[in-house]
Amino acid sequence: MAEVVGYLDRWSARPGARIGVHLAGSVPARARVDLVRLGRGTHRDEPGGIAYEPVPEVEARDVVLLPQPVDEGSYAEIDLGVLALDQGCLGLLVQPWAPTGEAEQVVAVLGQGSSRLAVVVTGEGVPALRAGAVLVPTEFRAGPRRWLVVALSWTQRAATLTVLDPQAGVARSTRVERHPASEALTGTLLLAGAPSEAEPGGRRTVHSHFDGRLERPLLWPAPQPIESVRDALVCGEGLPRGALAAWDFSPSVAADAPQDLVPDLGAHALHGRLRQGPRRAVRGMRWTGQFLDWRDAPSQYAAVHFHRDDLEDAGWPCTLEIVLPDALPSGAYAVRVRGNAMRPAGDDPTDPFDLTAGQCRLPLFVRAPADGPVPPGTVALVFPTFTYLAYANDRCALHGHNPEVLADRAIALEATDVLLSRHPEWGLSLYDTHHDGSGVGTASRRRPIPTLQPDARAWQAGEGSGRWNYPGDLLLVEWIEREGIPWHALTDEDVHADGAAALSAYRVVLTGNHPEYATPALLRAFRDHLDGGGRLMYLGGNGFYWRIACHPQRPGVIELRRAEDGNRSWAEEPCEYFHAFDGGYGGLWRRSGITPQSWLGVGYAGQGFRRSTGLRRARDAHRPDVAFVFDGVPEGDFGLQGAIGGGCAGIEVDRRDELLGSDPAGWWLATSLPLDATYLAANEEMLVSRPTIAAPFTPAVRADMVLQPVPGGGAVFASGSIAWIGGLSADQGDAAVQRITRNVLSRLLDPAPLAAEPGPWLERLP
């Protein structure tokens, strides 16, 4: 039994690219690796599974899979270089967030072997000094989220730890005689974790991570009184007089400043590195309450928040590289890894079986060649990979906020969810909280994400196929392939990086079913595309909702601040609403002044996760200038069946709303039939808690289908909800929804502007 997991070094590539494949097995095992194209072909792994076909141009390769550890947890690493400190003082500000627990947390450690000195917080929440194997606690108990001044002074004969709570005015010290043979402290200063003593296989790991914030580590060449340390930490700036080093944790306003660099202001330039992506641009002890934006006062946001469960890069060795053929058509692909020791689940599931069913399929989207021609009529499908990443390794059903209540039914885990529960070291999603209770604000794709599989089922898809997010978007791919529409694949990352130029060759661009997360550059690209006469089919719900930022140095890492309001599984810390990665104001795009309604015609209204419903023609459905939309569609309600919740309006629903920016002249084509009481209004729409938040009691919770021209020849079609794409399913779909989608797509491919005839949308133009 070998459970097979892995990740690729990228999710998007052009033909000719070399793809790094990083794999592991739960036990050593042989596996075969090949490339498959998704959404076409005759192969399916299970009834209702996504169609696929092998890519014979990429030769299958046999590899050996080995178990691979993950060294999760963030920390700071500072090479002390030539310094050899037979005496000294390390001072820093410490804010434990979860001071009590099962294990000791290491705040700082320096030196090696029996000479090593460490500042720790014991499992009882007591700051303590560890000298070699000796632990000496202070008579002090750290409270959660309470700032402390910490000073560790040492000579070759003794070490002293002093902890001061400046708010309470309480200081406690503890002292230990050092080993007679103690050497000068050299090597590495590690903050928020301790290096492993043993390094199996030459691999270095860090353990005993600290959960909380650290600020302004200072190093002196001699012991210091606590008053001096306090003054330097709390009141001082820069390098204190007589100090050897001062590490500046404040975020840099320079756009290209390395996120993982903590510069030393001292003469030795002992610059440190942050590992595994701790959170920056958070309030430090010296935050005055005057500023809300770290860019206005970086020194007041000079703390770094470390978590034992941060993970930026699993760091697995590359098992093999796959070279994409130069002539490989653009599309949705997967690197398929099949173990040869599989054991399927039988009727007695307590008999151990392979939770991955012996294989994993790692998503890969292949773009068109950079300089290749784009045949006329080719559409672009932008896979919302930022949203895939936001949900990656979502553990809410395992330990978080209870989705069963939202779903109004039992949650059925996938076996890969169970596998995920066995591997906390594979990290968290943007929907989870850290061990210390803080929200998870960054997500990386450089790690195993076992649930991101083409046939995975999600509770968010309601009753039915379970297809939602990535597997839901593959229904769209299957439909495009069945319709014979020429298309090219793009991802959020591609459009973020290349801007509107990534879209300019395509008259029509399609979204997936849930493009929830968007960077400013991504949003700008879509809007520039529309302003330049391009067309967009927004085939989802709750789209372009959260504003995020991309790591300026590390591709595949995004940041989110769940500011202000919105449907959230955690709330951002007050006054920390600005991203560290780009300085942008986090939270809902609506709160940044760009409502989805203002450029898509609709925006998020509410959600329910059990049953979807159908649609009914609305105000403008019978206008002659939009007759093409319903051409061939029988009169009456439509979208009454679908693979996502059993209808084509539902799950997360969007509403047109002129007060929120919907174009009054846009065509309101259809609206959802009544949604049931499991649908609740978006909380950002509630000023006061009220008993009318369920859909049966408010007309505001509904899905609207709209089409609106954009001056200059552009146009946007919005389907109104996530469930629409379920209507495109071959066996569970809805003929009317398929026809409407095709009708609109065909019309939008026609270069003639939609508003060819004078209408009210022209009357309002200056």
Partner: protein, 123 residues
């Protein structure tokens, strides 16, 4: 009603009699829709904290589900067993498991009338 009230109650004979109609209604229609009274009965059960809570897992590649038990943060899900071949059977089996772990008696004992979902075939 909240989760703690559900956990605290250990129904005696009278309580069983009071709950019996609700449990029967759920068993007849485990996939809903639920009336207001039944919803109020079910929500606290569904809102229980994760650690130790029963849940379902789909067997890989199959239209069949088994019972599992959530471990909570950082702890693995345990596979309990059973093989249920429809969502309704799985939902009823899950309800039974949760109820038994909370109250110590099997709600199926209330009524094993033939023809109801979750009867002899319900595991």
């Amino acid at each position: 009603m909240n989760a703690s009230t559900t956990e605290a109650s250990t129904p005696g004979g009278d309580e069983r009699a009071r709950l019996a109609p609700l449990i029967r209604r759920f068993r007849q229609q485990p996939m809903g829709p639920y009336d207001v009274e039944l919803q109020a009965f079910l929500l606290p059960l569904r809102n229980l904290p994760a650690a130790g809570k029963h849940a379902l897992m789909r067997l890989p590649g199959r239209e069949a589900w088994t019972l599992v038990r959530l471990g909570g943060r950082g702890r693995p899900v345990q596979i309990v067993g059973g093989c249920f071949t429809t969502p309704a059977l799985a939902e009823w089996a899950l309800f039974r498991a949760r109820w038994q772990s909370l109250h110590g008696w099997d709600p199926q004992d209330l009524d094993d009338a033939p023809g109801l979902p979750g009867g002899a075939a319900g595991g």
